[in-house]
């Protein structure tokens, strides 16, 4: 862990205690996470595993979008079930598909949406929005339909919409999946360089290797937690290679 960020990291320590998540489906129950216990205060945490292994379910637990069927989850000392309101202010979530999280018609409106309900005046909100746009090379795009941005610009907007609310933990579920090599690198650089703690679910093993710690999920279970290089090796040799 990086000593300089010790405080903000401590602030968002993640702890799961015997967590099981089951989803009811037409065919019966699906176990998405099976008796997971873990504790981590890694500054950048990678989460890897096959499709359907439970990565997104894990990510969603962290800001209360899913609630554990059994067990408990706490983030920065807040229980994700009982303190969900406070939690949502502290945990920002970046989705794979920027179209799903850009909720307002235009770029500026979308950024402003994140600042609602914080007791800021319209003027203050506009100021903050303008500043963020300028920093990210989107100044000229303020009143453009957000859906007309390029893939990379959209994901950048989605992330800025999260950052503008100043969360102390960012959870990103495959944030670079739809991007080209250059945009993917930009987004990865941005996320890994943040002062905040960051959890990144990804199929991009190079990105995972750049984190401080990695989790490997398989079949709803946590298989390993540790140094990213070792975890990736185990993923490739034991799981991807499996027929």
């Amino acid at each position: 862990m990086l000593s300089g960020q010790h405080d903000s990291a401590r602030d968002s320590d993640i702890a799961l205690t015997r967590v099981t998540v089951r989803h009811p489906t037409a065919a019966g129950e699906v176990t998405a996470l099976d008796d997971i216990s873990l504790e981590t205060c890694a500054h950048n945490l990678a989460v890897i595993g096959l499709n359907g292994s439970g990565k997104s379910t894990f990510a969603r637990l962290l800001n209360g979008l899913r609630t554990p069927t059994q067990g408990s989850v706490s983030v920065g000392g807040l229980d994700t079930v009982t303190d969900v309101r406070m939690l949502r202010r502290k945990v920002g979530f970046v989705f794979t598909n920027p179209d799903a999280q850009i909720v307002m018609p235009t770029v500026a409106e979308d950024l402003a949406f994140s600042l609602r309900g914080r007791g800021l005046s319209t003027g203050q909100i506009a100021e903050r929005v303008a500043a963020v746009l300028a920093e990210n090379g989107l100044a000229g795009h303020a009143d453009l339909p957000a859906h007309d941005l390029s893939g990379g610009q959209k994901q950048m907007l989605a992330i800025q919409s999260v950052l503008v609310a100043e969360p102390s933990l960012i959870v990103a579920d495959e944030p670079t999946t739809l991007l080209d090599a250059r945009n993917a690198r930009r987004i990865a650089d941005l996320l890994l360089g943040l002062p905040q703690q960051c959890v990144i679910v990804t199929h991009d093993l190079e990105l995972a290797a750049r984190c401080d710690e990695a989790l490997l999920f398989d079949n709803a279970r946590l298989i390993t937690q540790g140094n990213p290089r070792d975890v990736i090796d185990r993923y490739l040799s034991e799981i991807v290679a499996r027929p």
Partner: protein, 197 residues
Amino acid sequence: MKTTLNDITRIATFAAIIAVLGIPGAVSPFGMAVPITLQTLGVMLAGAILGWWRGAASVLVLLVLTAAGLPLLSGGRGGIGVFFVPSSGYLIGWVLGAAVVGVIVHAGATRPVWWRVALGTVVGGMLAIYAVGIPVMAAMLGLSLGEATIANFAFVPGDAIKAALTVALTMAVWKAYPRAFVTPRQPRVEPTPVSVR
């Protein structure tokens, strides 16, 4: 009128949207035999965004699938039975309603204008639906038209809110995705003799 593939997929998509708007369920205030449902919002939006015939077609598609037994009405209801209850007239009214909204919003227009959407949702999304729904409800419950009209007032506040929402939503969709209001033309397909290797 030649249907393009875009017409077909948009009709199917709006039928699906109306169905999805039924998932939150419905409420029946003061023991009304006809529920208050968010699906009427979908009906208004279908007309306002797709125009009269695609809007009406998407409601028709929804009704046919419901009749075939799929649980697409609010609260997961479906089957032929839904066409023989006091609320059935309103269901038929949805088809007319979507068409009227579409005519008022789209006729001679290149883009949606808020007052047209407002007028369309009140005349089509409310009055036209009531015009079919009230007589059927009256007949089914053995009420007079006047009595059924009084009962119908239970829907007016909710429907007025949905109409206002439709105005805001339609204008916002125009801002966010202008392509919604013009169905793109398919590349033209020239008939050629078909012979497969």
